[in-house]
């Protein structure tokens, strides 16, 4: 079953990491991705730019374009993984693996997908 693992953390804190620290975290997460890919379980993965680069379209009679993310929150959506898991338990284990690779701050939200279109394999 397909799950989205949504990555939340304080983007201020992440933004204060040195390049070396950031690279080290990305390398460890990359190793988790490699294992998932070898197991045939890895879907699209994205790291998002900071919320300061975001623009929101508020729907309504006259849709409104707003600078910034959907909501101002203490921790922000920073990225996501789409993974194929046999059960919620396996999804949680995957989230634990990611946590081991990136232990500091934030949370992973695990949400099953209702519909998934893989798209055309962008890069």
């Amino acid at each position: 079953m397909l799950y989205a693992i949504l990555c939340y953390n304080s983007e201020d804190a992440v933004g204060a990491w040195t390049q070396e620290e950031d690279d080290a975290v990305m390398a460890r997460l990359g190793a988790v991705e490699d294992r998932l890919a070898k197991a045939g379980r890895l879907g699209p993965v994205a790291r998002l730019l900071p919320t300061t680069a975001a623009t929101t379209l508020r729907k309504g009679k006259e849709p409104l374009v707003i600078d910034g993310p959907f909501a101002e929150t203490k921790e922000q959506l920073l990225g996501f993984y789409v993974v194929d898991c046999a059960s919620l338990d396996q999804a949680l284990d995957t989230a634990r693996e990611l946590t081991a690779a990136n232990p500091n701050g934030g949370a992973y939200e695990i949400r099953p997908l209702a519909i998934f279109h893989p798209g055309v394999g962008l890069s």
């Binding site: 804190a13 933004g15 204060a16 300061t52 680069a53």
Partner: protein, 426 residues
């Protein structure tokens, strides 16, 4: 990443909000800073043991506030602060109250802090020093190293700045709309000065000074959170990201400067470029052009060109013309001339810069460009004169070395021409 590294990052990112709130409580910069330092020391002891709090800033504010109050009490010989174990994480009622109070004010707190650092009574050098110390949390040693002065000189600069702040009549009320728009320009100027200090470093100083570029970009993102809809804030941050994205390509193995046209574009940082382009796209939606946006748009055109020959020089020329209109300056005209030379050829560019000779008589780049244009027109002797003048005015060894490359080429070409002449006559 080690515990300590993450805690350090958490303390750094919480600093503006925490020091800002403590400043609001105590109305004194030194007290606020000291309170924050104390709170950080306690965090370094307690967080590795108890785990990090969910809201580091709120924790630091509460602990900092209590630590400072405690100092006042102890001075008045009253009861001391409860021991570490009783300063719990923010799952208690008082913590929740503190969080609610501080969450609402955090934007204004940070703004007040930035405005104080960029107070009009402070000269730019002091503004930069005090902002980097108080808002960014760089140590005096780091700041001194980055600005190539002694630690004691930088310490003095910061002390003088704080004294001026204390003397100035600093309002602690929320800055009003007019004050905001006036003062944000000063803050942007300060941030760009910090960036340029880092960007203008030669290959030797890069390690010490390029952290300034990163710090300026962090401050830019902080300003974006405070001024979500201001296109010039987007423009400045985009400009810094796009310029810094080229960092790895700007120096060769020997430490000489590599010009934009010659840079290995595969070394450009694509993630920074993506963020810069996103920001300039957002800014342009507002249709409120400004100098930072225009400079960012120029940088964006370079970033979008896979190869130098793909660069949209015509559009760059138009952007420089617009910038010239906004902020007339001979240096901007000089930059525009480079674009003109690509679009209309060296003769037109030369005609554009000739009238600037008086005003730019001491400017290295003027003679560098003039020499280059004359060389393209095969006016070799005049080119050599210009390049000689450029070397005399060069600020760094790297700049001088670059011009010497041109001169060496000129020498070689004239030798080859001379040898050919002799051959033809023998």
């Amino acid at each position: 990443m080690s515990d300590l590294a993450w805690i350090s990052a958490a303390l750094t990112s919480a600093r503006p909000q925490a020091v800002g709130a403590l400043l609001r409580y105590f109305r004194d910069l030194d007290t606020a800073e000291e309170a924050f330092q104390n709170a950080c020391l306690r965090a370094l002891k307690s967080w590795p043991q108890n785990g990090p709090p969910r809201d580091p800033a709120a924790w630091l504010i509460m602990v900092g506030r209590n630590a400072a109050i405690d100092q006042v009490r102890r001075a008045a010989k009253q009861s001391p602060l409860p021991p570490e174990e009783l300063i719990s994480d923010l799952d208690d009622a008082e913590g929740a109250l503190a969080e609610r109070l501080d969450g609402a004010d955090y934007r204004d707190d940070i703004l007040r802090l930035l405005f104080i650092c960029c107070h009009p009574d402070l000269p730019p050098t002091q503004q930069i020093a005090v902002a980097l110390r108080i808002v960014s949390g760089l140590t005096v040693k780091q700041i001194a190293r980055a600005f190539l002065v002694s630690e004691s000189a930088m310490e003095q600069r910061i002390t003088r700045a704080k004294a001026r702040i204390a003397d100035a009549d600093v309002p602690f009320e929320t800055p009003g709309a007019l004050e905001r728009s006036e003062r944000v320009a000063a803050v942007l100027a300060m941030v760009y000065l910090v960036f340029n200090e880092g960007y203008s470093a030669g290959a030797d100083d890069v390690a010490a000074r390029s952290p300034l570029c990163e710090e300026a970009i962090r401050l830019g993102r902080l300003l974006l959170r405070l001024f979500q809809t201001e296109p010039e804030v987007m423009g400045l941050t985009a400009l810094m990201l796009l310029q810094h994205s080229r960092g790895a390509a700007r120096f060769d193995g020997q430490g000489a400067v590599v010009l934009l046209d010659d840079q290995d574009r595969s070394l450009w940082n694509r993630q920074m470029i993506a963020e810069g382009l996103a920001l300039i796209d957002k800014a342009m939606r507002h249709v409120r052009p400004g100098p930072y946006q225009i400079q960012a748009a120029i940088a964006a055109l370079h970033a979008r060109a896979t190869l130098p020959k793909d660069t949209d020089w015509a559009q760059i020329e138009r952007l420089y013309a617009a910038l010239e209109h906004m902020q007339p300056s001979p240096v901007i005209t000089l930059n525009r001339a480079v674009a003109v030379s690509k679009v209309q050829g060296p003769q037109a560019a030369l005609a554009l810069i000739e009238p600037l000779a008086d005003r730019l008589s001491g400017y290295f780049h003027f003679f560098g460009l003039k020499g280059g244009l004359l060389l393209q027109l095969e006016r070799r002797e005049e080119a050599r004169v210009a390049f000689d003048r450029a070397i005399a005015l060069a600020n760094t060894a790297a700049e001088a070395a670059h011009i010497r490359l041109h001169l060496d080429r000129l020498m070689r070409e004239s030798e080859e021409a001379g040898a050919k002449t002799m051959k033809n006559h023998s």
